[in-house]
């Protein structure tokens, strides 16, 4: 149960952030808003929404990334003020932020394990899976950084498709490229990353 006073605080903050992010997108130049300034509030919101989604009492506990990104959009931006381009900027940032959320999550798990968290160890079965997941996410993140050096757009495609769960056409809209480009970038990036991770 959330107390009314706590809600009010959260509301004020959300409303301020919403005004700020909307303005950030609306007043951006042709290159779009500064990703550094946009990713941060989106990151906070996604983390919060993911926490709510995964900790709610009923139903399954799977992470639905596409839902998170759409909810964050509604929460953080007044869609009627920014248009289709603004929407694209936002989704690109949200995809990046989603990757960051998962990476940080994975890092924390690793740290907790090194600290010898007793509860985790007793959960048997589960432990192996979560640890493997954390390790894979961190490896993938490292490989993506290396890929970013040679083909930054392919990284964006991976962020949209894999981390934000966007479809090919949504990704094409978001990155303002053709669907064909998305498909070939996606295939190339997958192959490259697969090889990179399998070699290790």
């Amino acid at each position: 149960m959330i107390s009314p006073s706590m809600r009010d605080d959260a509301d004020d903050r959300t409303n301020d952030t919403r005004r700020d992010t909307t303005r950030l997108i609306r007043e951006a130049g042709p290159e779009g808003p500064d990703p550094a300034r946009l990713v941060s509030p989106v990151y906070e919101e996604l983390k919060r929404l993911a926490h709510i989604q995964l900790s709610r009492e009923r139903g399954d506990h799977t992470l639905r990334t596409t839902a998170l990104v759409h909810e964050a959009w509604i929460k953080l931006v007044d869609g009627s003020q920014v248009g289709a381009r603004g929407r694209a900027y936002f989704f690109a940032s949200a995809a990046r932020a989603m990757r960051q959320v998962l990476v940080d999550h994975a890092r924390r798990l690793g740290a907790a394990k090194r600290g010898g968290d007793a509860v985790r160890v007793t959960l048997d079965g589960q432990v192996g899976r979560i640890d493997a997941y954390a390790a894979e996410i961190l490896e993938l993140d490292g490989a993506l950084k290396r890929l970013g050096e040679i083909a930054p757009r392919q990284v964006q495609v991976v962020e949209c498709r894999h981390f934000a769960g966007l479809s090919v056409s949504e990704t094409a809209d978001t990155l303002d490229v053709s669907e064909r480009t998305v498909k070939s970038d996606w295939a190339m990036a997958k192959a490259w990353l697969y090889r990179e991770l399998a070699d290790e």
């Binding site: 909810e71 509604i74 009627s80 248009g83 929407r87 997941y133 083909a151 190339m188 997958k190």
Partner: protein, 855 residues
């Protein structure tokens, strides 16, 4: 990106589009120029293949990312490698299910095909077990027209594989691509396929994915591959979609319904049709259109495409393609009997024809014929007859519960419990549940047979609620009007407290689910019944819902007040926020409040609701409507509404909104599916019928448009919207005198004037012009005046056939997104649809919706 990288990317994309042979050629050509470059390319292509086979970087949503990523490291076996005692020779192909390798069995010195299940599916314990069970059951099958399953096993890390006979030869799909078959060969191949499937049916094995790609034409005859495997595929997709291969899928499969031998019979019909005609019976530009045709439309008669095809074969094939499984031959064995008897000369009686004489019209698959068997229906004030929807399904209506004693109090709880059951049932994908508003027209005193007939449902739920001091009792029963009996009944009692009511509602729903044999996933919906912690707040919530249903201005304002009080008292009760959002949205929708003023609040409230309960369908629908009307964010709105109907397929409003949005975004076929569904869910709602009628007008089915608009008007006579639409349809049909008559009467309806309904004047002007009364036509246009929005004036000119003026006005008019579907599909604009100026106008509308114009 560097130049070298660009070159690599370009070559990589090129190579991916080539078949293995051409790819090899490309690689060796590249290798001559630059061996290092070729090595890099080869290595990437190999990695791509492995990445794809293992589901690497699949969507995070579909399961723990750990499994996806771990699977990414389990490479497919390579030629030369051993798998059990088998030696891999080469990769034959791959799909969503896994990869097929050609291998050698050294012990028996024979070649076999090994299918290795993809690690991603293997990770799903249920799917893995089902795969093994099905494969083992298929291994009992030994027939010359079936690819025998030799062995079933698992790799060390738990990936199942099956070893099948390796059939050498082209697939039927490849053969058909080369052109139509000679009739004699066509009959032989069809008989062989049917006989293979018949052998399976005799053992109780259903194939589920019969298609030309699964038939190999060997020297010794046709052989059917991949028995019983499709099911696993679907299981792994966790209900994300129906299984099978779409063009050959039966209507019941497209609905994700029960599948039995008759599903294979349908697919045999589809394959037979293609063998005879060279065409698939159903085709469409995209999945939604294809599904619509499979469910609703009769294929082009075989005789029209291949007149020389023997009548006997044609009739067998067409009988297999009956929409209703009951009307098909019951199994491949039955089909085979007829085929063989025919082969010996003579024309055998078709046994299933006799059995299903009553269903013959369904067999022909035409809507008009269904009307004949249903016969004339009683006219009533509550439900005027509608053209039937050709849908035989599991459908149910929940009538308002009767309350005994306890006065108003019992009435409130009766209403609340009815709501709980309705909401729970509406979330079950395999059920059609008519809306709350649809069943509100009836009560327990009504004859269930009449209710079932008028709402087009199979079963009717009735309930009685009684409060006795601190206790509440619910008697629940399901009536099966066809059998004229009570099919199920149960009594519940609970303490009259919030937790007591919650438990009671949950129990009743769970029992009902059990009785209806609702499967596991949907069963969890039982847990979805929630309520606030205290009884008084809950009461207010139910009262809010009651006010909401009336759709009156006063009612909606009252509903808003109640819900505001509810969320204040219980801010963590998601349904309270969702109710508030609904109250606000409906006020905007019915014109009782300024959308710009109330919709932001609706968005806020729906957002709260979703945050508290991400599985609340109504809030998703509301969010979709807000994003659609306030933001004009087409893709965003589509996402919310699609999600709403996926979570709650029986949400009539969401279906209708989805239909409207899809029509605006240029997806007419899919819009039709939604509008049809909306009518099925609220059979007695005039608005739903009108929306469907308008869709038929847009889809160029004028007769059906007329039928539906009249059905809507029969429910609610004297509505100007219906009259205008009827006039439009009649004029398009060329029935000008009738159109003029209808429109003249529409003009006289109370509340109708040229400012509010300029369309009536415009249509009347157009029809007068067509009838040669130029003068009257001009007068009518003058009555509209020039102060109208330019869009309206443009549409008027289009009606009068002055295309230049119409284009000029429309080009200058500001974009009004609510009219997008009219501009896109109304026959009014047909003559200028190809005009580049019209294209430019439509592009402005597309960009207003945030979508790219079709390229």
């Amino acid at each position: 990106m560097s130049d070298a990288r660009h070159r690599l990317a370009a070559r990589f994309a090129e190579a991916l589009g080539l078949d293995p042979e051409a790819r090899g050629e490309l690689l060796s050509r590249v290798a001559q120029e630059d061996p290092d470059f070729a090595d890099e390319l080869r290595s990437l292509l190999a990695a791509h293949e492995r990445a794809d086979a293992s589901g690497f970087l699949g969507p995070l949503d579909e399961g723990p990312a750990s499994e996806v990523l771990r699977a990414g490291k389990a490479p497919e076996p390579v030629p030369g490698e051993a798998l059990g005692r088998f030696r891999i020779l080469k990769r034959l192909g791959g799909g969503a299910m896994g990869v097929v390798h050609l291998a050698e069995d050294p012990r028996l010195a024979r070649r076999v095909a090994i299918k290795l299940l993809s690690p991603w599916i293997a990770a799903d314990e249920d799917a893995r077990r089902r795969f093994l069970r099905e494969a083992r059951s298929a291994s009992r099958l030994d027939h010359p027209n079936v690819a025998t399953v030799h062995e079933v096993g698992e790799t060390g890390d738990g990936r199942p594989w099956i070893v099948m006979a390796y059939c050498e030869g082209p697939t039927l799909a490849e053969r058909l691509a080369a052109g139509p078959l000679p009739l004699e060969e066509a009959e032989r191949i069809l008989t062989e396929i049917v006989s293979g499937i018949a052998a399976a049916h005799q053992l109780g094995i259903v194939h589920r994915d019969v298609k030309p790609g699964n038939v190999v034409l060997t020297e010794s005859g046709a052989r059917v591959l991949d028995f019983g495997i499709a099911q696993v595929d679907g299981a792994a997709a966790t209900g994300a979609g129906p299984l099978g291969t779409l063009p050959y899928m039966s209507p019941e499969q497209t609905r994700g319904g029960e599948v039995d031998a008759r599903t294979d019979v349908w697919a045999l019909g589809a394959v037979g049709y293609e063998i005879l005609t060279g065409h698939r019976p159903f085709e469409g530009p995209h999945d939604a259109a294809l599904i619509h045709r499979i469910r609703e439309e009769a294929p082009e008669p075989v005789a029209a495409l291949r007149p020389e095809a023997p009548d006997r074969l044609v009739r067998v094939v067409e009988a297999c393609l009956a929409k209703d499984p009951q009307a098909r031959p019951s199994s491949a064995t039955e089909v085979l009997t007829v085929l063989r008897a025919g082969g010996k000369g003579g024309d055998p009686a078709l046994p299933w024809r006799r059995r299903s004489a009553l269903r013959l019209p369904l067999l022909l698959g035409t809507v008009a014929m269904v009307t004949v068997i249903l016969g004339p229906r009683a006219m009533t004030d509550r439900s005027a007859p509608s053209p039937p929807l050709p849908e035989v399904d599991r459908s149910i209506a929940v009538l308002p519960f009767e309350s005994i004693g306890g006065g108003e109090e019992a009435g409130i709880w009766a209403r609340g419990l009815q709501d709980d059951l309705l909401t729970g049932l509406a979330g079950v994908p395999s059920l059609r549940v008519t809306s709350r508003r649809a069943s509100d027209a009836y009560d327990a005193a009504d004859d269930p047979q009449r209710v079932a007939r008028e709402l087009g449902v199979r079963l009717v739920v009735e309930g009685t609620v009684q409060t006795l001091g601190e206790e509440l009792r619910l008697n629940l029963r399901v009536v099966d009007p066809l059998a004229e009996r009570q099919a199920w009944a149960e009594s519940y009692r609970a303490e009259l407290t919030a937790p007591g009511l919650l438990r009671l509602g949950g129990e009743a729903l769970a029992d009902l689910f059990d009785w209806l044999e609702v499967d596991g996933a949907a069963h969890n919906a039982g847990a979805r019944i929630t309520g606030p912690d205290d009884l008084a707040t809950w009461r207010r919530y139910i009262e809010g819902r009651i006010h909401l249903e009336g759709r009156t201005e006063v009612g909606l304002r009252r509903a808003e007040e109640e819900f505001r009080a509810v969320v204040e008292g219980a801010p963590a009760f998601a349904e309270g926020w969702s109710g508030l959002a609904d109250a606000l949205v409906l006020q905007a929708l019915f014109g009782y409040a300024d959308p710009a003023e109330v919709l932001p609040g609706a968005r806020e409230a729906a957002g709260r609701a979703i945050e508290l309960r991400p599985d609340l369908p109504e809030a998703h629908a509301t969010m979709g409507l807000v994003v659609m009307t306030l933001d004009r964010d087409g893709p965003g709105a589509l996402w919310w509404l699609r999600r709403a109907v996926a979570m709650q397929p029986s949400n009539a409003l969401a279906q209708q909104w989805l239909g409207a949005l899809l029509a605006s975004l240029g997806q007419l076929d899919e819009a039709g599916v939604a509008f049809r569904r909306a009518v099925a869910l609220e059979p007695n709602a005039p608005a739903a019928r009108l929306a469907l009628a308008r869709w038929y007008l847009f889809a160029d089915s004028l007769d059906l448009a007329l039928e539906w608009v009249r059905a809507a008007e029969a429910l609610e006579p004297g509505g100007p919207v219906g009259a205008l639409l009827e006039g439009e349809v009649l004029r398009q049909l060329g029935r000008r005198e009738e159109a003029r008559e209808v429109l003249r009467r529409a003009r006289e309806l109370p509340g109708v004037n040229p400012t509010g309904f300029p369309g009536i004047w415009a249509e009347l002007a157009a029809v007068n012009l067509e009838l040669g009364d130029t003068l009257r036509s001009r007068e009518l246009v003058a009555e509209i005046g020039r102060d109208m929005p330019p869009f309206v004036l443009g549409a008027t000119e289009a009606g009068l056939g002055d295309w230049e003026a119409a284009l000029e006005l429309l080009a200058a008019a500001p974009v009004l997104p609510v009219f997008t579907h009219i501009l896109r599909y109304h026959p009014l604009f047909d003559p200028i649809r190809g005009d580049p100026r019209m294209e430019a106008i439509l592009q402005r509308y597309d960009s207003a919706w945030g979508i790219a114009s079709p390229r």
